[in-house]
Amino acid sequence: MNNVPIEYYLILSAFMFAVGTAGVLIRRNAIVVFMCIELMLNSANLTLVAFSSYLGLAAGQVFVFFVMTVAAAEAAVGLAIIIAIFRNKSTVNIDEIHIFKW
């Protein structure tokens, strides 16, 4: 890793982050949107790990651990919400979910 400057990792994660946001912005399926968010989290994790190992600080990786916990928790709740919606409207297409507006 001496020969790989950290910028590479950062740029990569930035790229994936952007891709993730793009996904959030364009996908219709709520679950997929949520997956894109997971992608964003992961890209952030990559940055964290990269920093932590380049700095030799464990904190970053510990944080990644926490992020994963959060991701898991959100996954549980989020999917539950999606299921609840599916039960009521039998759709997960977020374009069809806008009774509240203006």
Binding site: V4, M16, R27, I31, V49, A58, F65, V92
Partner: protein, 171 residues
């Protein structure tokens, strides 16, 4: 062209491409699969960064647990494919992609301007030591005890929440 670099490029390419494919496939399931691939490659990248523990957790928790949950729900709701990505509101979605690209460009620009590598000298031993499970465990149970407790509450709350929203009791 050192071995690390080759490894990095290898995993990076997979990660990047898989992520792009993931958001562009109409079928949710395929997207999910490519996301898993993406996770694997990220796990690989973690390895190149000497973060053994995290990379293992990445595979087990993310790729293993979470994504399986996703797939499970996908199957459960047997969600249909999204006919075309940019059907309707196409302008808006193109604009969205542009914005995402712009943000990427900006962050990249900032990163390159800041040159973080300039400040720090990578120290293999330190990084290897940092990534060890022992080290992480110690940090977790001593320094970050409180957040760890909080995580416990978080998971509890999540479980209860999931129960409330998804259980069939009141149907």
């Amino acid at each position: 062209m050192s071995f690390d670099l080759i490894l990095f490029i290898f995993f990076a390419l997979i990660a990047a491409i898989s992520s792009v494919i993931m958001i562009t496939r109409p079928s949710p399931v395929i997207s999910a699969l490519f996301l898993i691939i993406n996770f694997f490659s990220i796990a690989g990248l973690y390895l190149t960064l000497n973060a053994q523990f995290i990379s293992v957790v990445e595979v087990i928790v993310y790729a293993g647990a979470i994504m399986v949950l996703f797939l499970f729900v996908l199957m459960l709701l047997n969600a249909k494919d999204e006919a075309v990505l940019v059907a309707g509101k196409s302008k808006l979605k193109i604009f969205a992609v542009v914005i995402a690209a712009l943000v990427f460009a900006q962050i990249a620009y900032i990163i390159l301007w800041a040159k973080p590598s300039g400040g720090l000298s990578p120290n293999i031993e330190a990084s290897i030591k940092a990534g060890t499970i022992e080290n992480i465990g110690r940090e977790l149970y001593t320094k970050y005890l409180l957040p760890f407790e909080a995580a416990g509450f978080l998971l509890l709350a999540a479980t209860i929440g999931a129960l409330v929203l998804a259980k069939r009791k009141f149907e």
